[in-house]
C-alpha cells in the first residue's frame, strides 16, 4: 500500500494511517510487529492526540509505565525498535517525526 510520505519518511497525512501500512513500513525496516509493538504504537498515538507531539525517551517511558506496565524501560523499547524507539514508534504510528528528534 503506497501512501505519501513527508521529507523525513513519515506519513504525510496521519488520517490515512492503517495497520496494513504500518506492517509494511515496519517489515521494510526488518521489524515484524508484535502485540507489544502495537501496544506501544497505540500509546504513542494517544499521547500525540493529547499533546501534539511524541515526547522524548524518558518522558515516554514514564507515561508508558503509568499507562501500560510499570516494568517498561529503555531496554524493552530498544528491543522492540532497535534504531530509535521514539522515532520508529512514531513512524509506524503514522505520526510526524518528533520535534525533538534531530
Amino acid at each position: 500500500m503506497s501512501l505519501s510520505l513527508d521529507s523525513h519518511g513519515h506519513l504525510a497525512n496521519k488520517t490515512e494511517w492503517n495497520k496494513t501500512w504500518a506492517c509494511d513500513m515496519a517489515k521494510a525496516d526488518g521489524i515484524e510487529l508484535s502485540k507489544s509493538h502495537w501496544q506501544l504504537i497505540a500509546a504513542v498515538q494517544l499521547l500525540f492526540d493529547e499533546t501534539g507531539d511524541t515526547p522524548p525517551m524518558r518522558l515516554l517511558i514514564k507515561q508508558l509505565r503509568m499507562r501500560l506496565d510499570s516494568s517498561i524501560d529503555s531496554r524493552f523499547l530498544y528491543r522492540l525498535f532497535p534504531d530509535n524507539p521514539v522515532r520508529q514508534a512514531s513512524k509506524y504510528a503514522g505520526l510526524p517525526k518528533p520535534k525533538h528528534c534531530m
Binding site: 493529547e50 501534539g52 518522558l59 520535534k99 525533538h100
Partner: protein, 179 residues
C-alpha cells in the same frame, strides 16, 4: 534536582517560543524541576498551542506563575515582586540585556531590584545610553560595545570589556538573561 525558572515574555518571537518549548520539554525529560513565569502579555502573544501547554502539565511541570493573564493550565497569579523573588530569591542579580529598544528595556526593568546590576550588550548609541540614564537615574548599568565605539573603551563610564563582563558574572550568584 536542578531547579529551572523559565521566563516567558511578550517580547519573544515565534521561533523563540518554539525553542523555549523544546527546551522546557528537554528539562522535564531530564527530571529538572521546571517552573514557568508568564510575564505580562506573554500568554496573549504565546505561540504554543493548548496541547503544548497540556503536555508540559502532563509531564510534571513543577509550577506555573503568571503576571496578569493566566495560561491554559493551572497557574498562580503573581506580581513583579514575586516574580523577582522566584527568579533570584532576593539575591543581587546580574541582568543581561541584548539591546533591542527602549520598549524592551521598559518591559523588563520591573525585575531589577536594588543592588542589582544591568549589563547591556549589542548596538546602542550614546543618545540611547543618555536616555537610559535619564529615565532610570538610580540604575547601575554597564554597556559592552556600541555602534559609535565598536572597540570597547573601558575608560568611559558605562563601558566595560569582556573580562569585566566575565567578572560581573562571577560576582553574581544569579544571572538573568532577558528574552
Amino acid at each position: 534536582m536542578n531547579r529551572i525558572i523559565m521566563t516567558l515574555a511578550a517580547t519573544d518571537s515565534a521561533s523563540e517560543w518554539d525553542a523555549r518549548y523544546l527546551l522546557a520539554i528537554s528539562h522535564l525529560n531530564f527530571d529538572h524541576e521546571l517552573h514557568l513565569i508568564c510575564l505580562p502579555g506573554a500568554v496573549e502573544s504565546c505561540h504554543w498551542k493548548d496541547k503544548q501547554w497540556q503536555a508540559l502539565a502532563l509531564y510534571d511541570l513543577a509550577g506555573c506563575h503568571h503576571i496578569n493573564t493566566a495560561p491554559p493550565i493551572d497557574s498562580t497569579p503573581i506580581d513583579w515582586k514575586m516574580a523577582r523573588l522566584l527568579l533570584s530569591e532576593n539575591q543581587p542579580t546580574l541582568h543581561l540585556c541584548h539591546w533591542q529598544n527602549m520598549d524592551h528595556l521598559r518591559y523588563w526593568v520591573p525585575l531589577i531590584a536594588d543592588h542589582d546590576v544591568l549589563l547591556v550588550f549589542g548596538q546602542l548609541d550614546c543618545s540611547t545610553i543618555n536616555q537610559i540614564q535619564l529615565q532610570y537615574p538610580g540604575l547601575l548599568f554597564h554597556v559592552v560595545n556600541t555602534s559609535q565605539h565598536p572597540h570597547i573603551k573601558p575608560n568611559e563610564a558605562q563601558h566595560i570589556n569582556h573580562q569585566q563582563w566575565a567578572k560581573l558574572i562571577r560576582q553574581h550568584q544569579v544571572v538573568l538573561t532577558w528574552n
